[in-house]
């Protein structure tokens, strides 16, 4: 139990008043960064990184990782209130969070989101604390076929999600794949579908599409429906936190599943965004009440938030032990470590104990501090919905525009965001589901690259996806999930036939 001793020592390091102050500042900045779409955690950390060079590395990483926690928390706020995901991993939170806000349950949704985030992150930190050396080795088993199998599993767990006709789902997903293919193809180094324009070089950024499709699309719809926020009648009351907490233990199973999916995706490192989608998909699949998903089911908020936070937190583990960042923010933090003269890698835990355990201790504290801060702000955020739509709508449009610009500092992206906004409006009018499009856009590129890398390694042999126990079982699980509706129908028919036979016999 040497680790426990180290951890306690870490708490002593993290609990100095300077470090607590850095923690507080970090969380507040992070929440702000998370609320502004586009200005993601990665950007926030990158901007502030140079400012921390004069601090001690321990204080600096504490502050920067608290910005990261803050951004993770903050991403949920705009998703729930305005249907604008502040961060890619908050997209799945909008599916049920926004309907809840429209029903006047914004406070409840936010409390659920923050609490689940906290639970997810806390479990992930415990995994880091106790399983770090063991788990770190596991990430090494992941080559391209394993990555592809995980991405495939995400798709399969999500398919059949929408209540719309399958043809519309497939159409939306194909549009997503087509958009994901624009830009530089990493395997051949060639530009695809840019039609000779330099604006399309960078492809369609997921965030720009999402801000347009969800945020602006929603504004257009609301305008048509009569310039009123449906959530305005919602009760604003500090008691909402307690009332929601009373309900939450009921969803322990969803929460546990979210933690498992999140930790797995963070460590491997699949990332927080796929984790949130996968968790949402699984929650809906396992639920008895499938139809309430997408109409304001609180489980639809718990599932993605738990997974996203667990993944976001455990993503720091491969960064520290292997030097592979599990997320863009982790990549920037990695650069910071190098500049402070800390070499991430297996030896970091041996040589810089104080730093590593200080960081881990700050993860515990940062999360607790973060939860307290964001929970106290719930009524304030919910109060925003009381502002008349005619005042708040222009503000949201401005936030969308700034967010789109921020992603690449590119004005062209703002126009693209508007185009996506109009597209989002028509998608909703014509009852095409947006989720498959977004999923294909965020995962299509990665899945394609992993697939082609696998094909290069195996010389074009598809059996590489069953070449070892790990990849084989993930692929098989994915196929079972994909075909589950058929399988369960088959089983049902089989049972019925048996029963019929028994009846006849009787």
């Amino acid at each position: 139990m040497e680790d426990i001793g180290n951890l306690l020592h870490g708490f002593a390091v993290a609990l100095t008043w300077q470090n607590l102050l850095f923690m507080l500042v970090g969380i507040l900045l992070g929440v702000l960064i998370g609320v502004l779409p586009g200005l993601g955690g990665a950007n926030g950390v990158a901007i502030l990184l140079p400012l921390t060079f004069s601090m001690s590395p321990t204080s600096a990483i504490i502050m920067l990782s608290c910005i990261y926690w803050g951004a993770l928390f903050g991403g949920a706020i705009t998703s729930i209130l305005f249907n604008i995901p502040g961060e890619p991993w908050s997209v799945a939170t909008t599916f049920d969070g926004y309907p809840m806000a429209q029903q006047g349950r914004a406070g409840e949704a936010m409390t659920a989101a923050f609490t689940s985030s906290f639970v997810g992150a806390f479990v992930a930190v415990m995994v880091i604390t106790f399983l770090a050396p063991l788990v770190a080795r596991f990430a090494l088993k992941f080559g391209p076929p394993e990555y592809f199998s995980v991405q495939f599993l995400t798709f399969c767990s999500f398919i059949g999600m929408s209540r719309e006709p399958p043809a519309k789902t497939i159409a939306a997903m194909m549009i997503g794949f087509a958009l994901a293919a624009v830009g530089l193809d990493i395997v051949t180094g060639q530009l695809r579908m840019t039609f000779g324009t330099t604006e399309l070089l960078q492809g369609f950024d997921f965030l720009i599409a999402v801000i347009g499709l969800f945020g602006l699309g929603e504004i257009l719809l609301t305008m048509e429906e009569g310039l009123a926020f449906k959530g305005a009648k919602g009760r604003i009351d500090a008691k909402v936190v307690w009332e929601t907490w009373k309900k939450l233990p009921r969803y322990w199973m969803t929460s546990l599943r979210g933690c498992l999916i999140g930790c797995w995706m963070g460590i491997t490192p699949g990332g927080a965004t796929p984790a949130s989608f996968m968790s949402y998909g699984m929650a809906r699949r396992m639920s008895k009440d499938k139809d309430s998903f997408g109409n304001g089911n609180i489980e639809g908020v718990v599932a993605p938030e738990t997974a996203a936070h667990a993944a976001g937190t455990s993503a720091l583990l491969p960064m520290l032990t292997l030097g592979i960042p599990g997320s863009p923010t982790a990549a920037v933090l990695l650069g910071g470590l190098l500049i402070w003269g800390l070499q991430p890698g297996p030896l970091l835990f041996v040589e810089k104990k104080e730093f590593v355990w200080g960081l881990i201790a700050s993860m515990y504290l940062g999360n607790i501090v973060g939860l307290l801060i964001v929970l106290t702000t719930v009524p304030w955020w919910a109060a925003i919905l009381r502002i008349p739509f005619s005042i708040i709508a222009p503000v949201i449009v401005v936030i969308c525009a700034v967010g789109a610009y921020t992603v690449h500092n590119n004005l062209f992206d703002v126009f693209m965001m508007v185009v996506f906004g109009v597209a989002g409006y028509f998608f909703k009018k014509l009852r095409y589901p947006l989720a498959p499009l977004v999923l294909a856009l965020v995962l299509g590129d990665m899945a394609e690259t992993s697939f082609r890398q696998s094909m290069l390694l195996s010389g074009g042999n598809v059996s590489v996806f069953w070449s070892n126990g790990l990849v084989g079982s993930i692929m098989t699980l994915a196929l079972v999930l994909l075909l589950w509706p058929l399988i369960s129908r088959g089983l049902g028919a089989w049972k019925q036939r048996i029963r019929a036979a028994e009846d006849r016999a009787a």
Binding site: F53, G189, T198, L201, H408
Partner: protein, 336 residues
Amino acid sequence: MNRTAVARAAVAAALATAAAGWQAPALAAWEPTKPVEFVVPAGTGGGADQMARFLQGVVAKHNLMKQPFVVVNKSGGAGAEGFLEVKNAKGDPHKIIITLSNLFTTPLATGVPFNWKDLTPVAMLALDEFVLWVNAESPYKSVADYVAAVKAGDNGKFKMAGTGSKQEDQIITVALEKAIGKKFTYVPFKGGGDVAVQLVGKHVDSTVNNPIEAIAHWRSGALRPLCVFDEKPMPYPDKVTATQAWQDVPTCKSQGLDVEYTMLRGIFMPAGVTQDQVDFYVNLFKKVRETPDWKEFTRNGAYNNTFMTGKEFVDWVGKAEVKHKQLMQEAGFLAK
């Protein structure tokens, strides 16, 4: 972000000035009058990005410039996005760009219209080295073992992971194929960190990672360096592992593998700027290079610490372009 970033950075710079006390800057006639945009034509976390953010930090820490640097990543189209932005900012002295080999390879491979001649060369800060790495558990203890094994296998049996496609790592791989006489299976990945981990996990047989991308795994005993693709060994005598330092890694040429390649870490400005403005940045980077932070940075990354400016640098870039064109043509990587 730009506004906020600028505002925040400006506040930070002001604080830094207040903290460090005012220092008289002995500078050339021109100096920046607003924050300088530092374009990185690559994603966050990579080698160029790390160096740019390091420079940003050092300039702020030592108060070398009144205005701050603001690092902006423009990685679209293998960096074309960043280069085009600087190309189009003719005459703007508040914009600089750090380069990697994509200054040459991207226009050649994709046909996107830009060339280093559209920019003003400022200075070479360093050259990044490339090292041939294998997994420490593999039986290849030397270049000779490795080459013998590649020669003994079929074409495509040896798997080489690298960063990107038709970029520096693949150029070296093609050069190796020519020197050894066998084809590799080249598998492109997004970043150098991923590449190193793929080798640690034994999903591929070798890599040509930059030192900084693989050092952690070398120290932990997971990877083994075989040789460096430079004309001289790396001049760093500090022990990295218990028994070896960077300087103990032989050159590939001395081991009978005649392949040499280094990557430019240089600074360029838009075209149409004055000599005064170029001189300001040359002086700035000279000062950066004198700081202890820079010395530690180059030692950690085992950079080839060559500094060049003026005509010498322009000549070097010109030669490097010819070399890349020839290598890419031989490899069949030129855009049609």
